[in-house]
């Protein structure tokens, strides 16, 4: 393997309904179509060397998904960005590509910023629910995971949670129906606290219940900046050169 390239991509609009497996199939095919010299694992059924870091769940849109591609000869990141983007279906959009300087991408993804669009929710009710959630020490929620029903705290990992200004209208809703936008920064932990866990928490502490399924988008993912309290760009390290 000559080089590893890190890719930031978005999952937008109707393509938010892709699952992680759907995306990996789409990326593998796009890599082949774009003639990217991807490296393969050895053995009877060789796999292309493409790895994914912390993928957003099915149904959740994202502006900040990350993957890494191993290639057999050096590639220009700008060219690869354009080629891969052109080969992926619209809605899976390549935003940024850098050459990897180390192997620590996954570790650098410490937290995410999420935006949640809640249709049919009164802004005042939302503000009050957020206030109660933030004031609580612990908010126990349950979620069905692959290992069965798990119970865990959804409060501690939430570093900030706010109601955005200005009423917006959700796509596909009747024009006169209001919706509320929440924004939050969540630290990646085990078990992972996902946006729907926070929503469950809001329902438990304050009875907040959107009329139809919320539209959730990951806005950013990266190392948590101590001063802003928000995720920074995880590629900063690769770009400035780090300590080679």
């Amino acid at each position: 393997m000559a080089q590893r390239l890190r890719v930031r991509y978005a999952k937008r609009g109707r393509l938010r309904f892709t699952s992680h497996r759907d995306i990996s199939r789409a990326v593998e095919r796009a890599v082949r179509r774009a003639d990217i010299p991807v490296a393969y694992s050895a053995g009877f059924s060789p796999h292309p060397k493409i790895s994914y870091a912390g993928a957003a769940p099915t149904g959740v849109a994202s502006e900040a998904e990350y993957l890494e591609i191993g290639v057999t000869r050096p590639c220009d990141p700008h060219r690869l960005r354009a080629d891969l983007d052109a080969s992926l279906p619209p809605g899976l959009d390549v935003l940024d590509v850098v050459e990897a300087r180390d192997s620590g991408l996954a570790d650098r993804l410490e937290g995410s910023m999420w935006e949640l669009l809640l249709p049919g929710v009164d802004p005042e009710v939302a503000a009050k629910a957020v206030e109660e959630f933030v004031a609580a020490d612990r908010v126990e929620v349950e979620r069905l995971t692959k290992k069965g029903l798990r119970r865990f705290d959804a409060r501690e990992a939430v570093l900030s949670l706010t109601v955005q200004d200005g009423p917006e209208r959700a796509a596909g809703q009747e024009p006169d129906r209001l919706c509320v936008i929440l924004r939050m920064v969540v630290r990646h932990a085990t078990p992972a606290v996902r946006p729907d866990d926070v929503l469950t928490g809001l329902r438990l502490v304050a009875g907040l219940a959107p009329l139809s399924p919320p539209e959730v988008t990951r806005l950013a993912q990266g190392p948590l900046d101590a001063t802003t309290g928000e995720p920074a760009d995880p590629f900063d390290f690769d770009r400035v050169g780090g300590d080679r």
């Binding site: 393509l15 199939r25 009877f44 292309p48 279906p89 596909g172």
Partner: protein
């Protein structure tokens, strides 16, 4: 009249259903055309789940060809799963296309592709969700023309009431012709409404419009005759045959889904038709004659398809792929070309001979030699003569010996149960055969690490085959024979553990039999099943035999016919069969003679090699066998 996207109304429902990605469209190489710029608009449907329907080549080809016409557009729609169906009903969202999420009812044509009869109930769901009246006679000028195609359309009588039209055979040219007729009629201001355009289509003799024909019955329930009920309608309807497949190298832009589907590969049809003459095989009979694609076109299509799709697997598709006159060169040429590119090749072939193994070896050059499939179909030598599958036990043992000794560890054998004249011993013979296969493998490899799987399902007599007159075996007998076979395999100390056994039980075959050889009266049964919740009959978790039998009893009450009459009853030579007015080119007397020959174990040759026009297809349809060899080879691709 412009049509708005239903997506904003569908979107809030998607987070609540399984695998929402199958409903959003946006596949690579899919096409969305401007509604107002097209004068003829087709919605094409594969009446099963997206994961089954998307890979279907028939729909992909028609979609591409129609969209290439400047004034025609085509979108696709599939059966929605019951979870989304319920939400669509409660929220009032109609059946939609996945391309631009337009309402199906707004299109001019709803073209439905039936590879099998098991999609019929899903047609009714789609019509109902679309807001299209189920009965063709209730439709108005606001409704699309509901048009069926695909193999099952060779007997569309059970769905005749729900169809405006049906087409037999290859769809490429007739779809374009139909589009043209509709365009002209619309340009003239749609004179005479839908009956006029249906009349224009019917009068060509290439489009069947069921409501222009009346079926008259004898008091005992048999059909007396099927006659046109208005002037200008021909008494017979002919199938369509595309000659020169090299002129039609589709799909050029294969659809690449985001959702996972049953076939994640690029498929190229290497020929159409099959003349081996297996008597049970409807596909072989109705797609005659054999028409090959040349080795060079196959090579070009593979190259283009991989580039356009990014698939890492290529399938060479046909009814009997190893029979292509230059398959050896095709296999070697492709294997050479793609060596070291992580592109795998597959050739679905079940021929019982050493050549087939050579091909499989070529295609598994860099991979594991896991499993090979052979289809003797009949358990005993006598049975195989009856069905005209000319494979002797010696052939089979010789072939599997070669396979095992060349490193293949697993052999799969396909059989049918309930074939005409079959007796218990014919099915139990499969156990002996399987044991001999294992023994041959052990002898060849000196190891006990060889396996064989027996796969067996119930035989269903099909229209336009020599077995169209045969009595279908009842499900009790089929199930009993399958059980006895299982016991004979499992109970064997020496070989039992080396032999796997998979079977389909007999009840679904009875329903398939009812639909295959049914007439218009069966449409009532179909509707009753659907009203009772029948959906997705090809899926065992949705299929209910009891529901079908309940519905049949109700719907056929007062008629001299019942399920047994349609299935387990043998027909006599001159009985009018429901599909007799639909012409696949096969000479009825030849089929009858072949049925007689079957009963006396007489075999028939493959007409590809020995000039023979006995089946009648070529003279009737004005077609010819088209085969190589061309003598050409595939050249290596230049590396850029």
């Amino acid at each position: 009249m412009s049509v708005e996207s239903l997506f904003p109304r569908l979107e809030p429902l998607l987070p609540k259903v399984q695998k929402p990605i199958q409903y959003v469209g946006g596949e690579l190489n899919s096409t969305v055309k401007d509604w107002d710029e097209a004068s003829v608009r087709w919605a094409l449907m594969y009446p099963d789940a997206y994961e089954i329907g998307l890979p279907n080549q028939g729909v992909q080809i028609l979609y591409e060809i129609l969209n290439e016409l400047p004034d025609t557009m085509a979108e696709r729609t599939y059966a929605v799963w019951p979870d989304l169906e319920a939400l669509m009903r409660s929220e009032g969202v109609p059946q939609f296309t996945v391309d631009a999420h337009r309402p199906v009812r707004a299109f001019d044509v709803l073209g439905v592709s039936f590879s099998t009869e098991l999609g019929y109930t899903n047609l009714l769901t789609a019509l109902d969700l679309a807001g299209i009246p189920l009965d063709a006679v209730d439709r108005t000028d606001e409704d699309p023309i509901v048009l069926a195609g695909g193999h099952a359309a060779f007997n569309p009588e059970p769905i005749a009431d729900f169809l405006d039209a049906a087409v037999l055979g290859d769809g490429e040219q007739i779809a374009i012709a139909i589009s043209e007729v509709i365009r002209e009629w619309k340009e003239e201001g749609s004179p005479g409404g839908r009956d006029e355009v249906l009349m224009r289509l019917a009068s060509t003799g290439g489009v069947y419009v069921p409501k222009f024909y009346d079926v008259e019955y004898h008091p005992d329930g048999r059909i007396m005759r099927v006659v046109p009920n208005r002037p200008g309608v021909p008494s017979r309807i002919f199938k369509h045959t595309v000659m020169d497949l090299d002129e039609w190298p589709y799909p050029k832009k294969p659809l690449v889904p985001l959702a996972e589907t049953v076939h994640e590969r690029f498929s190229v049809e290497i020929f159409r038709g099959c003349t081996r003459g297996c008597r049970f095989c409807q596909a072989g009979m109705i797609t005659r004659p054999v028409r090959e694609r040349s080795i060079t076109t196959i090579g070009d299509m593979v190259e283009n398809g991989i580039r356009e799709s990014g698939f890492n697997e290529v399938g060479l598709l046909s009814l009997s792929s190893a029979d292509h006159s230059e398959i050896g060169d095709v296999a070697k040429g492709l294997a050479d070309r793609y060596e070291g590119t992580n592109t795998s090749l597959s050739l679905p072939s079940t021929r019982v001979d050493a050549f087939n193994i050579d091909l499989a070896n070529e295609f598994s050059r860099n991979g594991r030699r896991s499993g090979l499939t052979f289809a003797p179909e009949g358990g005993s030598e006598r049975m195989r003569k009856v069905i005209n599958k000319m494979v002797t036990e010696e052939d089979l043992i010789r072939t599997v010996t070669t396979a095992y000794s060349q490193g293949w560890r697993q052999v799969k054998l396909y059989f049918m149960c309930g074939l005409p004249t079959e007796e218990d011993v014919d099915v139990l013979g499969i156990a002996d055969l399987a044991k001999k296969v294992i023994q041959a493998g052990r002898d060849a490899t000196g190891s006990k690490d060889v396996r064989c799987t027996v796969s067996i399902g119930g035989f269903v007599p099909k229209p336009h085959t020599p077995f169209q007159w045969a009595a279908q075996c009842d499900h009790e007998t089929v199930d009993r024979r399958l059980r006895e076979l299982r016991d004979a395999l499992r109970g064997d100390k020496e070989y039992g553990r080396a032999i796997g056994y998979r079977y389909h039980d007999g009840k679904p075959s009875i329903v398939e039999g009812l639909l295959s050889r049914g007439d218009r009266r069966v449409g009532r049964v179909l509707r009753a099943v659907w009203e009772d919740g029948g959906r997705f009959d090809g899926w065992s978790e949705h299929f209910s035999y009891e529901r079908w039998m309940r519905a049949a009893e109700k719907a056929l009450a007062g008629e001299p016919v019942d399920v047994e009459w349609y299935t387990t009853r043998e027909r006599e030579e001159h009985e009018v069969l429901p599909w007799d007015h639909l012409d696949a080119g096969l000479d009825r007397e030849w089929l009858w003679q072949d049925w007689q020959d079957a009963n006396s174990d007489v075999e028939v040759e493959d007409c590809r090699w020995t000039p023979c026009y006995d089946c009648g297809v070529c003279p009737t349809m004005g077609t010819e066998i088209q085969i190589g060899p061309t003598g050409k080879k595939l050249l290596p691709l230049t590396v850029v």
